[in-house]
């Protein structure tokens, strides 16, 4: 990735505190940015606020103060859901797949939410097929996800994150529940797919080796960021 690549997503001075049962300042003036095609990792001890930060970055949670910028423009609250649908892809440690839906339906639901056509001849359907092929899951496309193994679920989750062609992928411990080999495979797939499709990645992880494989690495301690 070149140094001149544009900053596509930026968070400035994010503050977040929990007031009950006692005040805990989780994040304090946290700022970060990510350039197009860049991968950024966030590490830190448990309870340091990594996942909360990722939720704030993904507009799923509200910061007490601070701003988010997408393509250099402030991200307005009314555009949060649309941003989540078109510009951000989420990957979770627990995958958060729709159990009663098939693999294909899990992928297409994101397109459907964005009012895109999902017929077999549609672009969304083709994209889903290519993503599943990339994840080596094409043979599982009509399986309900509750029948899949943990590794397969992780790969479906990755494929779903890339639906609607988002610019940023936010991954929260994507390999946390996997054994070493499966974790390595998921890491490879995630990083390679991001690189191939020129997507930005912000990943929260405890796995230092995975963090090291990213372009930049932040450490979150006592609510403050340190770039490694």
């Amino acid at each position: 990735m070149s140094n001149e690549a544009e900053v596509i997503f930026e968070a400035k001075n994010i503050d977040k505190a929990f007031l009950y049962p006692e005040k805990v300042q989780l994040l304090e003036k946290v700022s970060l940015y990510v350039k197009r095609g860049e991968s950024v990792s966030i590490t830190g001890p448990s309870g340091s606020g990594k996942s909360t930060l990722l939720s704030i970055l993904g507009t799923l949670d509200k910061a007490d103060s601070g701003s988010l910028f997408l393509f250099g423009k402030p991200l307005l609250k009314r555009a949060y859901s649309k941003t989540r649908n078109t510009h951000i892809g989420f990957i979770y440690q627990n995958h958060h797949l729709l159990d009663e839906y098939t693999v294909m339906e899990n992928l297409l639901i994101k397109a459907q939410i964005g009012r895109k056509r999902i017929s077999r001849k549609s672009d969304s359907y083709s994209l889903a097929l290519s993503l599943l092929e990339g994840m080596n899951l094409l043979h599982r496309k009509d399986f309900t996800t509750k029948l899949l193994s943990g590794g397969e679920k992780a790969r479906v989750s990755i494929a779903r994150a890339f639906m609607n062609d988002p610019e940023i992928i936010l991954a929260d411990e994507p390999t946390g529940n996997l054994d070493y080999e499966a974790a390595l495979l998921v890491q490879d797939l995630l990083l390679e797919t991001c690189r191939d499709l020129n997507k930005s990645l912000i990943v929260v992880t405890h796995d230092r080796s995975f963090a090291q494989r990213c372009d930049r690495n932040y450490s979150l301690n006592d609510g403050h960021f340190e770039q490694m």
Binding site: L60, S81, K82, R84, L97, Q112, I113, G114, R115, R160
Partner: protein, 694 residues
């Protein structure tokens, strides 16, 4: 669409969510039940209300235009009394409408007007404004979009009705001497328009009893009289045949019936007949022949046996006895019950008959399974079933003595009046005659005058309490009374006016508004009052009561509906709870709060809509089979569950579009409201928290 595809998944019953499916089914069932009940009740109430409205407005029309006091003080009304051209008599609206002269006063011929006669009301052209014709023009100008109206002017007068009721003596059915009763009633005499109009539908068809009564009167040949105690005058100018001809020519007799104590001619009997002999001290007084072999014999001192023909004579063989009694010709063979039979009138006997006894009927009577052909005189029988002609395309050569129609024109015979149906309940029939008695006042005296009348039919005056006193007749008869009648029997403001009819009584307010505005524009508003039916004194309370009943039930219905719809809220709240994780995932994938809330709002509308359709369909089916339902209710209660006096002869079964529209709008709206509560709850879920907790 995302929302609908999710909604479909949520509403599909699944084994895993059986409790939710059960709640959904229960909700749909309860709401359908309420919808069914509401539509059923509102349809029936609307039907009853329409029925009552019809009966309320049957005689008085949905709108009445009556002259005000201002009219009676106007030059237009008063001038006729001072004008030679008007015959120095006040004119009715009908006369005003048909007159070519608006201002009959001629200064050169007529005497000077008194000071209380005001100046004439000028029209645009400098002449005199013709008030009656302006009303007529205004009525003609009612646009068809407002209502398709029919109107006519009416006249009313007050008179004392006196009817003479000539009846057979009950204990002497074959006697030709009638028993006379008199019926006296203070009445309003109303004109009925002859052109086919709504009033014509109120006229009842003559019945077989009327026909038998007319035949009886023809046999009597009595001439009606205007005397207080009529002497029995009899016509000698016409034969019975001539008097019967207008009746017989306009009916088709289908069957006859024997009267009490009908005696079978002995010549008829060829085969043995079971008979009961009235025997006392060894002497037989008469025989009773039962209708069938199985028929029960007469009560009392009778001996059972068989009548057989041996040679030329008939013999009675008593059961259990070897003796036989000769059936003498003087001993009557009475039929035990009324026998129905078909027969034809012997026309020759009809032409020469002096009384009904002389008219012979060729009868085919079935007795104890055997057919007997005989000839019986008309005085021993009566007509049982008959078809009566009432509609003619051309004037009949022998006009019937009842009210009839020729090419949609009502024809009341000379002196003919139509009595309210209540008179029938008092024992009156078509053919009963009498007179109207009315007063005439002059500066020197008050005198009584009489006008001869004859009942030519009955009509249903509806439910207004004074309806029993309204008699309908030709304009000529009303005129002959009202031109002489100066008493204050009738409120002069109601004695003359216009009646306006249209199909849908609910348009009365629209038509009234149009007429009132048009009257203002024409400058005739001070002279006429336009009164819609809901302002009639006699109708106000009833209409108000119907409205209150409907509002009350509507309120109760909506409350029940709300309670039923609470089930939907419970169901959808459970669904939101059950689907919390999915909602979190959808939100993280970019679903807006509007999209999420729409799923549950649509679910509410869908459940409400389905229930509405099911309930409405059931209501439709029930209404179509309301008679069966009434039958079941009658059986359960062991009596008539619905009083015919209030509900009509049949419970209304028309599907109320108004009720359906109300349900169609209210139920989905309330269901939407019910869906919004879970929708709001779903909206308030925080995806980050849900996903973390999952």
């Amino acid at each position: 669409m995302f929302e609908f595809s999710i909604l479909r998944r949520y509403l599909q019953p699944k084994r895993k969510r059986m409790s939710l499916a059960l709640i959904a089914i229960m909700s749909v069932f309860v709401i359908s039940l309420v919808v069914w009940l509401l539509i059923l009740f509102l349809s029936i109430t609307e039907g009853i209300e329409k029925n009552w409205l019809g009966r309320l407005t049957s005689l008085n029309a949905p709108i009445r235009i009556t002259p005000t006091e201002e009219y009676y003080r106007s030059y237009y009304h008063l001038i006729d009394e001072y004008a030679y051209a008007s015959g120095y008599e006040k004119k009715t609206f009908h006369e005003k409408l048909t007159s070519k002269i608006t201002d009959p006063y001629d200064q050169t011929m007529d005497s000077e007007l008194p000071l209380y006669v005001p100046k004439p009301i000028p029209n645009d052209r400098g002449g005199v404004l013709d008030l009656a014709k302006e009303v007529n023009k205004s009525l003609c100008s009612i646009p068809k979009q407002v209502a398709q109206v029919q109107f006519h002017d009416y006249q009313m007068a007050g008179a004392l009705l006196r009817l003479t009721l000539a009846r057979k003596a009950i204990d002497q059915p074959y006697s030709n001497i009638p028993v006379l009763h008199f019926l006296t009633q203070a009445t309003y005499v109303n004109s009925i328009p002859l052109d086919k109009g709504p009033l014509h539908s109120l006229i009842c068809e003559p019945t077989v009893f009327d026909i038998n009564h007319l035949i009886y009167l023809a046999d009597l040949g009595r001439i009606s009289s205007t005397a207080d105690i009529p002497e029995q005058e009899y016509s000698e100018e016409s034969s019975l045949g001539e008097r019967l001809f207008p009746i017989l020519h306009n009916i088709h007799i289908q069957s006859f019936k024997t009267l009490d104590r009908f005696s079978l001619p002995q010549e008829v009997i060829e085969k043995p007949l079971i008979a009961y002999a009235k025997k006392s001290r060894g002497e037989i007084f008469y025989y009773v022949i039962p209708k069938t072999i199985e028929s029960k014999g007469p009560d009392g001192d009778f001996v059972k046996g068989v009548i057989k023909k041996e040679g030329d004579s008939l013999y009675f063989f008593e059961n259990g006895s070897e003796e036989k009694d000769l059936v003498e010709r003087s001993i009557p063979l009475l039929l035990g019950e009324h026998f129905s039979f078909t027969g034809t009138i012997d026309h020759l006997s009809l032409l020469e008959a002096a009384s009904l006894t002389d008219i012979l009927i060729s009868a085919k009577i079935s007795i104890q399974g055997e057919q007997y052909t005989t000839v019986v005189p008309w005085n021993q029988i009566t007509i049982e079933k008959v078809e009566i002609e009432r509609e003619f395309s051309h004037p009949p050569k022998n006009p019937p003595p009842w009210a009839y129609f020729v090419d949609n024109q009502l024809v009341l015979n000379q002196d003919g009046v139509l009595l309210p149906i209540h008179f029938k309940e008092q024992g009156c029939f078509i053919g009963d005659d009498g007179f109207f008695s009315f007063g005439k006042t002059s500066p020197l005296m008050v005198s009584e005058q009489r006008k001869k009348i004859m009942t030519v039919g009955f009509y249903d005056p509806g439910v207004i309490n004074t309806g029993v006193r309204y008699i309908l007749t030709s304009r000529e008869i009303v005129n002959s009374i009202s031109s002489k009648e100066e008493s204050l029997v009738i409120d002069p403001l109601q004695a003359n006016g216009f009646q306006v009819w249209f199909d849908d009584s609910l348009k009365a307010s629209e038509v009234t508004a149009f007429l009132r505005n048009d009257f203002v524009a024409r400058g005739i508003e001070p002279y006429f009052a336009v009164t819609p039916f809901y302002e009639y004194d006699f109708a106000k309370d009833l209409i108000g009561q119907f409205q209150s009943d409907r509002d009350l039930f509507m309120l109760v219905g909506v409350i029940i509906l709300l309670v039923a719809i609470c089930n939907i809220i419970t169901l959808l709240l459970l669904l939101v709870h059950d689907k919390k994780a999915e909602i979190g995932i959808f939100l993280s994938l970019g679903a807006s709060k509007l999209q999420i809330s729409s799923i549950f709002a649509f679910a509410g509308v869908f459940l409400g809509g389905i229930s509405t359709l099911i309930g409405s369909f059931l209501a439709y089916i029930t209404l179509k089979n309301i008679d069966s339902l009434v039958w079941v209710l009658n059986r359960i209660e062991g009596r008539d569950a619905f009083n015919a006096a209030f509900y009509g002869s049949k419970l209304p079964n028309e599907f109320s579009v108004l009720a359906f529209t109300f349900i169609l709008i209210a139920t989905p709206l309330l269901s939407l409201g019910a869906g919004l509560i879970p929708a709001i709850k779903a909206c308030k879920l925080r995806p980050s928290q849900i996903l973390r907790s999952e």
